[in-house]
Each structure stands twice: as C-alpha cells, then as structure tokens.
Amino acid sequence: MSPDAPDVVEEQPPALTEQAEEILSRLRTALGDGIVDDGGAYGGLILRVRRDAWLPAAEAGKGAGECDYLSFISAIDWMPAPALADEGSGDTSNPVQPRETTYGVTGSEGRFQVFAHLESTQRQRWGVTLKVDVDENDPRLPSWVGVYPGADWHERETWEMYGVVFDGHPSLRHLYLPHEFEGNPLRKDYPLLAREVKPWPGLVDVEPMLGDAADAAADADEASAE
C-alpha cells in the first residue's frame, strides 16, 4: 500500500486488472444505468446492479461479457452476527464479529444481497462478480435458469438457505434439507443449534495435564519478552 493512501483502508479498492477493465467497459455499454456501483477486490471486478437489471446482467455477462461459465450464485446476509453467550470470556478461539452494520465492496441498500460469479472458459483471468440487493421483507429475483442452466441448483440452495425466491425457476424446492424443514439456516438470525445446546468449549474445556503449570509459566515469560 502506498504511503499516501487514504486513512479508510476498507474503502480503498485495489486496482483492477486489464481484463477486469475490459469487462467493465463492455458491461457498462450493455447495461447502462443498470449498474449501481462498481468496485474491485484484488484485481477482480465486482459490479452491483439494479434489481430490474439482474436478468439483463446475466444475458450481458454471457453475451457481451463473454462469460460462458457460471461459477456460483449465493447470497450474503449483512446483518451483524448476534452475540454469543461466552463472548466476554476472552477466549480467542471464538471469533467476535463487530456489532455495527457495514457493507462490503460496492455497498448494499439493505440486509440481503445476492451475488454470483461468472467466468470465461475461452480467456485467461476473465471473470466478474455480480451483486444485487433484494428486498428484506419480500426477497424476490428473476431466475437465471434460462441463461445459465447451472443456476438451477444454485438458486435452489440460495432459496433454501436465505429465503430468496427466484421467479421463473422450474422447481424451487429443498436441495440439501428435508422437505419439511422450516427456516433459512444461513441467515444471521438463525442460531447455530449446536452452540445453543452447549457453548463452544474453546480453551476452558481442556483438562489440565501434568506439567501444564510449567508450560503456562513459560508462555507467560515468552509473552512478556515479546
């Protein structure tokens, strides 16, 4: 990072690669104001499109963008992760996520965002990540099955895990979970049931062994030396 970089590190998008610039200019021509924002992550192109431009984005990605390969479709829930019961214990084996709501590269309007990655099998290092905001109360998007047949299973998974409905999907039914399953497990407010039953043992569950006291003393010495 150059020394004259601005203070806010997260909002500093790394430069796009040559290929990513080329895709960006092609998709800009094809989609026009359908693109809300563009950004880069480590050379890769990330585009956020308007909701009504989601299906045209796939068509443009396949046509003008020359991305014939669908890598994946999935979603992100930007709601901050709920606090865990044992967060105050100082146990570093338990990740503590920040409480404030932040959105990643190219931002988001609300809680749910669907994103997909397209690539080209004919070119080198040629790909684009597309993002779209969906309505929190009525998450609904047009299906990509007509453009990329592989979208079928990815959309079923996204529907099952996040509750995003894909209009025009031939059979939106459960993929991984039993058909009577209720809820959307990858939403942040869906608890990890194993943790609800028993908190993560982390460091506290380890039974002390012979010589542990001496090891702890050595660790403390090492830490103070640093």
């Binding site: 992550a41 999935s74 570093t92 996520q97 920040p98 039993p178 497990p185 990890l192």
Partner: protein, 395 residues
C-alpha cells in the same frame, strides 16, 4: 425363383398379439410398458458416498433422473462463521476428502491476500508439490475404480496399490494420510522430512509406470471402449453453462485449466507442462484426460522437487490472526474441478461469510440433463466417469 409366401400364423396361439407383432412389418411398434421408478443409492459403489438418484425408467431407458443430495450436508458455510481462520482449515479438509490438501490452498491463499502476507517461495513450491500429489492420489483411485464400474476388477487393485504409495508420501510430510491440515496462513507447518525427495522421485517413477499399465489394461480394452465411447456426451457450451469444470470440461474439448488460466496463487508458471484436452466429451474422454493429467502431474512433481528453492517456510505472521475487512474471491484447480472461496471479512478473527464453491456440486448438477435417454448400465459408467465426491457436493 419364387417368392416365399407370407408366413401363416398359428391358429391356437396363446400369445397371438406377440406373433402378430413379429409377423408384422412394423416390428418396431413399441410394446406398451408402464414407467418404473428406480432408486439408485443412497448407498451405491459408484457414488462415493450417499447420493440418491431417482430415475424414471421406460424399460431399460432412463426418461428422467433426479439426484437427491444432502445426505452428507454438514453446513460448513454456517460453521465457518463461528470459527477462526486457523480452525477453518480443519473443516475444509473434509469437503473433498480424497484431495484434502488441495482444498486448503485457495482458502489460505485468500486469507493471505486479505492480510497482505506473501508466503515464501519454498512454502509455495511445497504447497504445489503436495497439491499435485493429492491430484495423483485422487486420479489413481479414479483410474482403478472406473475399470471396476465396467466390470474389470484388476485395475482397481493397481489403482489402490499405487495410491497408497502417494498417500505414504503425503503422510510422511504432513502427518496425515487424508486430512493433512498442513497449510498455515503465511506458509506451511513443517519442512519436508529427510529422505522425502528421494522417496518421491522413486514413487513418481512407479506412478508413471502404472499409468502405462492403465493405458494397456483399460484404455486399449475393447470392452471398456464399447462401454464408454459415445456414452454420456457433455457438449462444451452446455457444460460451461452448468458450471462443469476441471477434467470433465477438458474432456469436452475446452482448453481451460485454472492452473494456467486462473490467478497465479501457486508457481505453476515456472513449470514446463501442458493442458490435456479430448474433443469427444464422452465417458471415455474423461477417463483418457485424467490418465494424461496423472502423468503430467507426476512430471510436475519431479520438476518441483528438482527446483525446490531453499529458504524459510513461514512468513512473519502475527500471533493472533485478525484478517482486515475486505472481500476476496480465490479459485484454484482442484483435482475435481474449480474450487473457490468467496471470503467476506469484517476485521475479526473469523470470517463474516464464506461461500464455498465446490467442483462436484456443479459437475453433478448436469446429471438430470445428461442421464435422459441413456440405458441403466450406462448410468453407472456416467456416474463413475464424472467422478465426484459426496462431501464435495454436500459441503
């Protein structure tokens, strides 16, 4: 010369309709049969785990197939949100359990990109060598097992035997045959043990020899050819639309390999190797491509151990790993296809969201299209030639 008169039908027939059909010039009027629904799996040797396939049959012919997955769904995407980065490598080892080492590499590469850490060259070369070794181990199992699915038992023994040599090498360097958990953010856990390079050279000679054996035993075998040629053809464009990747797509003539065409996370550009493709796209092509790739990987391992740079194996990494906020998409060429992680970090010790893109998931999603119209015995060869691991589908 007199023409023979039409054959008289027997008067007393029990099966008079059948005789009428036989005598009729329209012999190919299809007999009226009801559809039958057949469950293949969840436990079937061709499925490497628990994949259930519900097929609707008209006689011997499949008219619709619906794969039911999720028997091994372990919810890794949810679990990653509750774990720290070093803990997650333990989980993702279990996605594709035949090539666990190759699963770790893209995730670690993504975390390194976000943290701005560069692993030293020696670590990258050892990573590449172990990735290629796990590719060889995975493919050797395939080369043997594919023979088994068409009724040849001998190749399976060769495959398992030679795979064991390779697994011994992986165990000698990482400590684990299947789940090495050997990658660290910033490098690898340990250096190679004494004598490993000589052992590897010896083992690669065995692997190359065994590839010749497979070529003689299986590829040139007329029965194998009849069972696999023009069976289960994946058109290149459709395969790409379904997200089919790796050797399966290269067997359809698509010259696309992320080791060469993707972002360079491992030093493949410093090796002399080639990407193999086959124009046919059938089960035979998939076998043939994997056989050539096994050879190519063995040659790559030999180059890697010859040119192994010296130096440290770990970069300087903070004691508690906190990954700065950001997003990164990293994909690499796993033995089964494109393996990728979309990591969203918010600056904590664990990721906020990890999307795991596994190869087999997309490779298998083409099955409803691919199995339409094939015969039941060909279902098994198609399943075997696609070569998927259930953990890689269900995550």
């Amino acid at each position: 010369m007199t023409t023979t008169p039409p054959r008289e039908l027997p008067e007393f027939d029990v099966d008079s309709t059948i005789y009428k059909h036989l005598a009729d010039s329209q012999m190919n009027v299809e007999l009226d049969t009801g559809d039958m629904i057949l469950n293949i799996g969840p436990q079937h040797p061709a499925t490497h785990g628990t994949l259930r396939l519900v097929v609707r049959l008209d006689g011997e012919r499949v008219i619709a197939a619906d794969p039911i997955i999720g028997y091994m769904h372990r919810g890794y995407e949810k679990l990653t949100e509750f774990r720290t980065y070093p803990q997650i490598t333990t989980l993702i080892n279990r996605i594709d359990w035949l090539s666990s080492f190759a699963n770790e590499v893209p995730f670690i590469a993504g975390a390194e990109l976000l943290m701005g850490i560069e692993a030293p060259p020696r670590a990258l070369w050892i990573r590449t060598a172990l990735t290629e070794l796990s590719r060889i181990a995975t493919f050797l199992l395939f080369l043997g097992e594919m023979g088994l699915q068409v009724g040849a038992i001998t190749p399976a023994f060769y495959g398992f035997r030679d795979r064991e040599y390779v697994l011994n090498l992986i165990e000698a360097s990482t400590g684990g045959r299947f789940h090495p958990n050997f990658n660290r953010i910033g490098g690898i856990k340990d250096d190679l043990p004494w004598g490993w390079i000589a052992d590897t050279r010896e083992c690669m000679a065995k692997v190359l020899e065994s590839c010749d054996t497979f070529e003689d035993l299986v590829v040139g075998n007329p029965i194998f050819e009849q069972r696999t040629r023009s069976i289960g053809i994946i058109p290149a464009e459709l395969g790409a639309g379904y997200g089919v990747s790796g050797s399966n797509l290269r067997a359809s003539g698509v010259d696309w390999d992320l080791r060469r065409d993707g972002n360079p996370h491992l030093p493949y550009d410093q090796l002399d190797w080639k990407v193999w493709t086959h124009p046919d796209g059938d089960s035979f092509a998939r076998y043939w491509v994997r056989l050539q790739e096994t050879r190519e990987s063995a040659r790559m391992v030999l180059q890697l151990i010859d040119g192994l740079p010296s130096g440290p194996i770990m970069a300087k990494v903070p004691r508690i790993i906190k990954v700065p906020a950001g997003e990164v998409w990293v994909n690499t060429e796993n033995p089964l296809g494109e393996m990728g992680y979309y990591i969203v970090s918010k600056g904590a010790t664990g990721p906020f969201r990890v999307k795991i893109r596994s190869a087999s998931f997309s490779n298998v999603s083409i099955l409803p299209w691919l199995l339409r119209g094939v015969y039941v015995p060909d279902v098994i060869t198609i399943l075997a030639s696609l070569y998927f691991i259930l953990g890689d589908i269900d995550r």
